[in-house]
């Protein structure tokens, strides 16, 4: 994996944690009281936060899956060339 991809993954992980922050922010900053009707700001933050969490998690999972597939293919190719050389 290239260094750019590693930093890209860190960036995606930061996006994931930002989503969690957005989900919790209305209650932590206390512009949404527990038990009261949700305000427009709270609804927006919860929907945006959940979308961000979903997108970041999906990106991380798919990236990891395809990176593993690439690694497995590379190992297969290396073993095939080794066997041919022998």
């Amino acid at each position: 994996m290239t260094s750019q991809a590693r930093i890209g993954l860190i960036v995606t992980a930061i996006g994931f944690f930002t989503g969690i922050w957005l989900f919790l922010a209305p209650f932590m900053v206390e512009y949404q009281k527990v038990g009261q009707d949700w305000t427009e700001a709270t609804k927006n933050d919860l929907w945006t936060g959940s979308a961000l969490i979903a997108i970041s998690a999906l990106t991380l999972i798919l990236f990891a899956a395809f990176a593993l597939r690439d690694a497995a293919r590379a190992v297969e190719q290396a073993s095939t060339t080794e066997a041919e050389e022998n």
């Binding site: 991809a5 995606t12 209305p26 700001a41």
Partner: protein, 151 residues
């Protein structure tokens, strides 16, 4: 290669969400224009701006990773890099001394070769046509001679 495309797509969506977060307080009108910013506005704006910056950085990184991968597989060429498959002709000047001249020659060489080939083909066609007309003239002259003898 697919992993970089997925990463770049995720980063692009993150950037769009960041932009939306910055605009949302005004778009959804929970922040009056001209009024002091309320807590939700502060939270949304100062979350959206870093998210936008980070996502754009991520998008650039994933895209550069994709470009690197494409170059490694030989799908994309490295800019200003000499192609490894072309050995230098003996007696040609060193590459670093007149690199631009060499590359210019490499660009012009196929063009000049094609032009030469085209010229040679035209010459050949012209020679063929001339021979044909000479044969025709000879045949008509022979026919004339035969006619005069018969008379």
């Amino acid at each position: 290669m697919t992993k970089y495309v997925i990463g770049a797509t995720g980063a692009l969506l993150g950037a769009l969400i960041g932009t939306w977060l910055m605009l949302a307080p005004f778009a959804l009108a929970y922040q009056g224009s001209g009024a002091d910013w309320a807590d939700p506005t502060y939270v949304d704006f100062w979350t959206g701006l870093p998210l936008l910056v980070i996502s754009v950085a991520g998008l650039i990184l994933y895209a550069s990773g994709l470009v690197e991968e494409l170059r490694r597989r030989g799908i994309m060429r490295r800019p200003y890099a000499a192609s490894p498959g072309q050995p230098q002709a003996p007696g040609s000047p060193p590459e670093n001394a007149t690199g631009s001249e060499n590359s210019m020659e490499q660009v012009l060489l196929p063009l000049v070769t094609a032009m030469l080939k085209d010229m040679q083909e035209r010459d050949r066609e012209r020679d063929g046509a001339r021979e044909e007309t000479l044969d025709d003239v000879r045949q008509t002259r022979d026919a004339g001679d035969e006619g005069s003898v018969r008379k």
